[in-house]
């Protein structure tokens, strides 16, 4: 996906280290998944 976005001109792509699990582990706020 990152490669695809770069090819479409979106260069400032940054993956979140650890994904959603890293976010949840720090008990940061979340919203319900639509």
């Amino acid at each position: 996906v990152a490669l695809l976005l770069m090819e479409r001109g979106i260069q400032r792509v940054r993956p979140l280290a650890g994904g959603i699990d890293a976010w949840l582990a720090l008990e940061y706020p979340v919203a319900p998944r639509p």
């Binding site: 940054r14 699990d21 919203a31």
Partner: protein, 268 residues
């Protein structure tokens, strides 16, 4: 082909059991020559059909049942792990999940014919909570269709298979080297491409703390939730404001992502 025929003729149902079990356990094993060969041997009376058929079905079911139980235990994480081994992890998850979401357990009837999905169908059935009895019924039916198709083709075309075996024997190993070399070049290209992108992304990774600071500072990054639906069901929450896009939607909806801001991607 000639090697496959010789191997099956020498060891019969036992070798078929081992080969099918290895294949259904996920090893990248070229199964079709053995099934065609088994069919040809059955047609010429060199292989007893009933023991061979039972051997094929029981080995296939054993391999698939193991994956099904692992899928029940580990859910979407197992699918993600299996797909990381694939050349195109995103499309691997997407295709598997789409097939199962659209057709449910009935997809097991045809999944054996789709490369990559033959092993991923059973764990997905487990992850989706398909009851064991229903899984076994559809899996056995799918195995029977798949095995029957190749074994039947081998039985019908056994004269041509013998001719093809002789043709390959005359050409020697040259053809195999050319085909194998081309395949290895393709693998090397895909691997180099993945390493290049991974290296670039590794340097630009953002931690959860940094992302929180960006959001709190109103720096306004675009956050994109790329989890496939199965992973989303396991943890039905998102980072506030995240755009939920499945990997197959990105190509069509990338214009929704601002070009002048940091784009934070996350998955499971």
């Amino acid at each position: 082909m000639s090697e496959a025929l010789a191997l099956i003729a020498a060891h019969g149902p036992l070798i078929l059991f081992i080969i099918i079990l290895a294949d259904q356990s996920g090893l990248p094993w070229p199964m079709e020559p053995f099934l065609l060969g088994a069919g040809a041997l059955m047609a010429t009376g060199k292989l007893a059909p009933v023991p061979a058929a039972l051997s094929l079905l029981s080995a296939g079911l054993l391999g698939n049942l193991t994956w099904y139980l692992l899928g029940r235990r580990f859910g979407g994480r197992l699918l993600g792990f299996a797909c990381r081994m694939a050349l195109e992890p995103d499309s691997c998850v997407k295709r598997t999940e789409n097939l199962f979401t659209r057709h449910g357990v009935k997809s097991l009837l045809v999944s054996k014919f789709v490369p990559g999905l033959d092993v991923l169908g059973p764990p997905l059935a487990g992850a989706f909570g398909v009851p064991a009895g229903r899984f076994i019924a559809f899996d056995v039916a799918g195995l029977a269709i798949w095995l029957g198709a190749y074994v039947g083709l081998g039985a019908l075309a056994h004269h041509q298979l013998e001719a093809a075996a002789g043709w390959f024997a005359r050409l020697g190993a040259g053809v195999a080297w050319v085909v194998g070399g081309a395949f290895l070049l393709y693998l090397a290209f895909k691997y180099a491409q993945r390493v290049r992108v991974t290296r670039r992304l590794r340097t630009s990774r953002i931690t959860a703390q940094e992302l929180k600071q960006l959001i709190d500072a109103a720096a306004g990054p675009v956050i994109v939730d790329l989890r496939h639906r199965l992973a989303g069901r396991e943890r039905p929450v998102i980072i506030p404001g995240a755009l939920v896009l499945s990997p197959d939607e990105v190509a069509a909806r990338h214009h929704e992502i601002a070009r002048d801001r940091d784009v934070i991607l996350y998955c499971a």
